[in-house]
Symmetry: D2
Subunit: 293 residues, 4 copies
Amino acid sequence: MSAAPKNTLAGSEIVLGPTNYGKSTVRLVKVIRGPDRHDVRDLTVDVTFAGDFALAYVQGDNSAMLATDTMRNTVYALAPEHLVASIEEFGLILVNHFLSVAPAANRVEVRLVEYPWSRIEVGGVPHAHSFTRSSGEHVAVVSGTRETQEVTAGIDNLLILKTTNSGWENFLHDQYTTLPDADDRILATMLTATWSYAATTNVDFDQLWRGVHDCILTTFTDHYSPSVQHTLYRMGKAVLEAYPAVRKIHFTLPNKHHLVFNLAPFGLENNNEIFHVTTDPYGVIEGTVERRS
Amino acid sequence: MSAAPKNTLAGSEIVLGPTNYGKSTVRLVKVIRGPDRHDVRDLTVDVTFAGDFALAYVQGDNSAMLATDTMRNTVYALAPEHLVASIEEFGLILVNHFLSVAPAANRVEVRLVEYPWSRIEVGGVPHAHSFTRSSGEHVAVVSGTRETQEVTAGIDNLLILKTTNSGWENFLHDQYTTLPDADDRILATMLTATWSYAATTNVDFDQLWRGVHDCILTTFTDHYSPSVQHTLYRMGKAVLEAYPAVRKIHFTLPNKHHLVFNLAPFGLENNNEIFHVTTDPYGVIEGTVERRS
Amino acid sequence: MSAAPKNTLAGSEIVLGPTNYGKSTVRLVKVIRGPDRHDVRDLTVDVTFAGDFALAYVQGDNSAMLATDTMRNTVYALAPEHLVASIEEFGLILVNHFLSVAPAANRVEVRLVEYPWSRIEVGGVPHAHSFTRSSGEHVAVVSGTRETQEVTAGIDNLLILKTTNSGWENFLHDQYTTLPDADDRILATMLTATWSYAATTNVDFDQLWRGVHDCILTTFTDHYSPSVQHTLYRMGKAVLEAYPAVRKIHFTLPNKHHLVFNLAPFGLENNNEIFHVTTDPYGVIEGTVERRS
Amino acid sequence: MSAAPKNTLAGSEIVLGPTNYGKSTVRLVKVIRGPDRHDVRDLTVDVTFAGDFALAYVQGDNSAMLATDTMRNTVYALAPEHLVASIEEFGLILVNHFLSVAPAANRVEVRLVEYPWSRIEVGGVPHAHSFTRSSGEHVAVVSGTRETQEVTAGIDNLLILKTTNSGWENFLHDQYTTLPDADDRILATMLTATWSYAATTNVDFDQLWRGVHDCILTTFTDHYSPSVQHTLYRMGKAVLEAYPAVRKIHFTLPNKHHLVFNLAPFGLENNNEIFHVTTDPYGVIEGTVERRS
């Protein structure tokens, strides 16, 4: 950063602050051609570099810059040999590779999303090379410096709903409050979860991902929810209790409102049966549950 | 239409041509509260009227117009009693209702999309009132006049892929052709299918929908595909052969291109293993397979 | 179509019905490098063929099929010489070219969308080679057979709004009607218009497009709107009266509802001042205004 | 946070970490009904609270929680009196109001996006109450605690392009680099900028926004760009030099790649004239330019 020229204005200097650059949305499919069947890996990869790139920003000197086109090539070039297990492990390979070829990069982050494909069943038998896309994306974010690495995993876009055992009561009222208390409502959210691991080696990332995923779903079902906030905490706590490998977990839970439709003008009762679903506005509840060391 | 005023210009008159109006994206959730478990119906409904509405268009007289807000109310008001079986049957009820209350409507079309929800499994047991959204939307379009009705069903957004048993060879070449022949490529498409039924009563719409859905998937797997076009025809023919209740079927099959990534500059072979997926441009293949009476 | 094999089922044959195929979303930018300044043409082009392609669909014989990849190449290859005036004229060139190289194509349709770029002004002077994207896409659909051609032009995604001089009154009531009459409401729509021309040669397509565009906007402002339907008719009539070159015009007008927010619970009046905007559901009003020959 | 129960596992406790909640996508339109003309304010508002909400998360006690529905009501209820000048000033009012009614909220953030509407011109005269949406959203993020406030302003989704005076040369090469140097390329980006102000009172936010906006555009045009990175720095430096009220500015600049289409197979030259535009993957360049105090 010492390369930044001095620009004095009103007693201050203008300098370059934090920067990053990279390649986004590298779409990669790998087909593993086994003797009896094919397997498909379907990924979107984003690569981000942070580091000592002031020469490029301030002086237009690109000599320390790996082209984002090279980042893309690298994702494809390393996939034959290294995309063989979890996306977390492929991400670790990518981060280390990028740190080795780009001396000015101090921190590299690779975000990977894997889309699941299920075999089409023909007469009850899973087909050898034909698939349908199923739901439930597996996300991993791997970041590293030359000293340390961090792996987080996550779930995106998991739409879940409870028809009962949820309410919202006894909340703070002010002059603009009109919402009545509810002790039986639909709870629906498009869940995003991200959790970080205590270690990056000797971890069965795929098994852990499925375990955390199932633990979240199970906890979603197992209690009366007085608020999205409390359900968030319970889900996080359950994950941390069941999985010592998880250091902390963060949730983003948009509240997809299902409102009882007013049928009274038509002489009809509506005992929590008919709802209209609204797109906007929507509540957003976020929070982290973590370990105190 | 005789109400249209005469405007002479260069020997011609300006008149109102075909029109339609309606309500789009009515989002409806119905919870069926059984003694042991809840069921969820999750629908988006569009309503469209065509008919003798020239008074409104030409003269600003709304006396024959049902408000689109009333269309919305009606979808909710009829759901308690009438959304009890397939969306096709609910659509038929809606069409008949709208024709009965709006004398100027000559033709009413109701499009319904149902989103499937799967029960969350807790310890292997499906939960009584907690769900995750699964993939595979069921679409129905019901249209009717005072004389006749038509029901079509369909599938939207079904992403399918074959890793082999697909090619594109021996096609027409001209001066701008650069694509080489391929006898082993990935075939991937986001399938949309729409089929019409020969009858509208005494039809098990849900069972037929599942049957057609499975027949399409099975046929997708069962042959070497020389083109998306030919696979389209085979899928349509298989459906019509297996389901006499289906009169005709139409497919829209965007070709989601998976291109072999060139690894040669890096000294690596790529034996149909590593692909990049491109968003645009993409091929689109459409066609109908039908019965000749 | 005589190539279709006979499949007898319940006294019927299964045959190929209407088909089409093509390439979608070909993104093309052309820079015209004048002596003093550059100009930019920014297009998305879709190509669709219909014709005698039963051999491919039914028998897997591609010998009559131009690859969609070739369609893409052609759009780029013809742009240097032929994308010099309106997109309508470029579309006519493309249609004729495709008919000449693909004998089995009976009908070719080319849809072109042009995105406008405005010069950045620096000190009040338009810059020679720097631009910002502005709004107002110009759409053209050119279709042709070996005998005839048709050109339509259009506007997509034109968001317009009136704060007054609009209402919705005296409409049909039934048992599910709750909407009150309104004689002063916001009228807002995302206008789509498509009009067809009587001739395809000796037409100044760009000048006509601007004229029709401005005529639509002017008419939108010039009257009390008793309904979206009536405003649609008035806009269409005004275009046909002013532009003899236009044969007919079709509008799609989603009603973007702006609802008066109820401030009464807070002791505040709301004299048509504060509105909430809802995304769904929304009304859709469509219609054609045409000449009676 | 002391309310968090202790859960011992492997020597650690599970506790609640950082949280926030709020309402997103509150869509508000205000019509100002002047004697001669109407004005339109069209906003989307997001409200986010952070604070001492552990009781709700951990114990399901909502007594300190303002409902997100109340947040929505408040935006509408305060708009008649307080949405009279810039969105930054309305945001400051909202932040202070929310801190006053929600004692547990320690920090409130309000994000506002204003969409510009232009008057339709009829015969060269701007219309009194009819508008078209124009491009260039004005964003403001106002955050505050009981001690301090911060205002940032920004631009979203500003699509800009240079046809020349841009290159990418002399960059770092490794074994996976295939991109050739370019000294004349198209530079195109969808610019996002966010800048923070040194003060929150006695600031003409609207005038500053226009000034920063124009300064960014002017700087985009005024130099040979050796990289998106360098252009980012120059734009930031120009803003800080011209506007002492701006403390720092952050840019996100996706590189919308325009690639020279290879016309050589068709015997055609392509002297930087015909480009295909690719959606993915794309480069992303980010960075902050700030003052060193």
